[in-house]
């Protein structure tokens, strides 16, 4: 068990390290590299000496622009370990970490709630579709789910915006809460937050539950013919007990693995949803920073989104042994690996729906 956790932890840290390194070299070595671009821009604006320009670049990126690449790289890693991601180019009076810190809770709120809702709805529908194939329920939902899985989330967002904020002003079209309420643990604030989160969550759920339903159906169908299900039927257990406790529980295993992948997709997808609903999460700031060429903020958002995804993956890895104890015991790892591996079709479908 300890060995399992350490291995997962090692992989997670390695991925974060690789992402940090790649981001660094992207900023430094890409054609039209952003640090040089900032220097050139400041030079064109005029009114600053070379030294001031250098200092400005240094405050923004936290690096000495003239120092050798190796030194800069070490400085960069050191800064990050101290929680310093530099300052936004467009607003050097605050720090990237402060901006991201204020944005992160909103993204986590929307991603977590919509992931939970779409997972529960999708698993329920998928289970029903698999247990009663050929029923009207299965036929209708197979169609709906296939169509919804193919519709991009940003288009759903636009449709929701058009009808629910443009034509009928049912929901607010921007912000995370009303300007008038004071943030804190009070009812007006909480209800305002919930009210503003409805549309972003709805847009994510509508486009992602289909993927879950199809994946669950695929997983449940593969369990359907197993001997313990037939044994349960032979013992005369009711359909409800069989479909929930025997088919449901066992077909959930591959779904948990996919939950880990889905967190990444949801964080990625939040870029669109947050931008369209002008919801102040990380995705929103990432697009804002890209459009205003604010590379330091953009890098910060990217590093943080990746870290959040890796951490979420790690947490799911920790959760997995609780669901399937075989995973954590090396002697039986092989059994679990062959049994729990999701099929390519289901992965592809979840990838489709969840992006």
């Amino acid at each position: 068990m300890v060995q399992y956790i350490l291995k997962r932890l090692g992989i997670s840290l390695a991925i974060i390290y690789i992402v940090l390194t790649v981001s660094f070299f992207m900023v430094r070595l890409m054609p039209g590299n952003p640090m040089a671009a900032l220097e050139a821009q400041l030079r064109v604006q005029g009114g600053m000496t070379e030294q001031e320009i250098e200092q400005r670049v240094q405050t923004v990126y936290g690096l000495m622009p003239k120092a050798p690449l190796g030194t800069q790289y070490l400085d960069y890693l050191g800064n990050i370990l101290h929680g310093n991601l530099g300052r936004p180019i467009t607003n050097p009076s605050t720090t990237v970490v402060a901006v991201i810190g204020s944005a992160l809770p909103w993204t986590i709120l929307v991603v977590a709630v919509s992931l939970l809702i779409s997972f529960v709805i999708g698993v329920y529908i998928g289970n029903r579709m698999a247990v009663h194939p050929g029923s009207t329920f299965a036929k209708v939902w197979t169609f709906i789910v296939s169509v919804m899985g193919a519709v991009p989330s940003y288009l759903v967002a636009i449709v929701l915006l058009y009808f629910l904020t443009g034509i009928w002003r049912v929901f607010p079209s921007n912000g995370a809460y009303d300007v008038g309420v004071t943030p804190g643990f009070n009812w007006p604030f909480i209800s305002s937050v919930a009210y503003h989160a409805v549309l972003p969550i709805a847009a994510s759920v509508i486009t992602s539950f289909g993927g879950w339903a199809l994946a669950m159906k695929g997983s449940a169908v593969s369990v359907l013919g197993s001997e313990y299900v037939r044994a349960a039927e032979a013992r005369g257990l009711s359909d409800r007990v069989i479909s929930r406790s025997y088919i449901g529980r066992n077909s959930m295993l591959p779904m948990i693995t996919q939950l880990a992948l889905a967190v990444g997709f949801m964080f990625g997808g939040s870029v669109f949803v947050e931008t369209y609903f002008q919801y102040p999460g990380i995705g929103y700031y990432m697009v804002q920073s890209v459009n205003s060429r604010d590379y330091s903020l953009m890098m910060g958002c990217f590093v943080l989104i990746t870290t959040a995804v890796v951490v979420a993956n790690f947490l799911v890895d920790l959760l997995y042994p609780a669901v399937d104890p075989r995973i954590a015991w090396p002697s039986s790892r092989k059994v679990a690996a062959t049994g729990g591996e999701p099929t390519t079709e289901t992965v592809a479908l979840v990838a489709q729906g969840g992006v």
């Binding site: 690789i18 992207m26 952003p34 991009p152 636009i158 990625g268 890209v290 890796v310 390519t344």
Partner: protein, 283 residues
């Protein structure tokens, strides 16, 4: 050919898939011949803005009084080119890495799979956005390359698990005993056996690339030049289509074009899936 007769029979029995296939075909024809037959008129006439459907403008007009339908038809080709090119790159990279990794095994396998895992974990869309923002290209081929950066790992994993199970089969053993080289075994023996995965992932790759590139145009991260559906929606939104009465047709037409194509691809790929996977037909 066995494949075509199977495909025909399955399409005949699965009407949604048949419709999907026909729609995909129409879009392909539209991408090839559309720009030759239809031209966006250069006449801009603001007094004609947001006109409703009429015989001259079947889908009405945009903010500059230009025909929406013509833009939809002309905008098909750039979307399809990027989608297909990106899917080709994805499939080539995914298949080569998957087959080599699964067949060779050992250190090569674990090294390649670690790389694949990193790409699988890093959230795709933010990575694409960041690369697109830094590279900032109008070249469709470069755009396709960027889009496939995050698309290949899933396929590589699937192909690898296929190659793993094929590795110990008799015909591979025979090929090895004959002393055939790695290139021959991977290219001539293994590749034909993963054909179904390649075909289906090719279609899924196109839909994924269309999804991502339209998204990039919508967010304004890919430079706006020319006409395609993403640019149309972007312009419609930035011209305040949400709050402009009469602009519904202009805003929703390109969206419908995308949704219809994506849904058609999904239904068609389902038929292809059951052609290649006879066990799916049992259900």
């Amino acid at each position: 050919m066995r494949f075509w007769s199977d495909l025909r029979r399955i399409l005949w029995n699965d009407k949604p898939a048949l419709v999907g296939g026909i729609i995909v075909l129409i879009y392909v024809l539209m991408a090839i011949f559309g720009p030759m037959l239809v031209h966006i008129s250069s006449v801009q006439n603001a007094s004609d803005a947001y006109a409703g459907p009429s015989p001259q403008h079947l889908l009405g007009t945009d903010a500059l009084g230009q025909d929406v339908l013509a833009q939809i038809i002309v905008g098909c080709r750039p979307i399809m080119i990027v989608g297909v090119v990106s899917a080709v790159i994805t499939v080539v990279v995914g298949v080569v890495i998957g087959l080599v990794s699964g067949y060779v095994g050992g250190f090569t396998d674990s090294a390649l799979m670690r790389v694949t895992d990193v790409f699988l974990t890093v959230p795709g869309l933010p990575l694409i956005i960041m690369i697109a923002a830094i590279v900032h290209t109008t070249n469709p081929l470069v755009l396709a390359l960027i889009l496939s950066v995050t698309a290949w790992p899933g396929l590589a994993r699937a192909i690898r698990s296929q190659a793993l199970s094929l590795r110990s089969s008799d015909f591979i053993e025979a090929a090895r005993l004959q002393g055939l080289g790695l290139g021959n075994i991977v290219g001539r023996q293994l590749l034909p056996n993963v054909g179904p995965y390649v075909a289906i992932h090719f279609l899924l790759g196109i839909t994924g690339a269309i999804y991502a590139q339209v998204g990039l145009f919508l967010l304004g991260i890919a430079p706006i030049s020319g006409t395609n559906w993403g640019i149309m929606i972007n312009l419609a939104m930035s011209q305040g289509a949400l709050y402009t009465p009469g602009s519904a047709l202009y805003l929703f037409s390109p969206m419908a074009a995308i949704v219809i194509l994506q849904v058609a691809f999904v239904f068609f790929s389902r038929a292809l899936d059951s052609v290649f996977n006879p066990r799916l037909r049992v259900q």
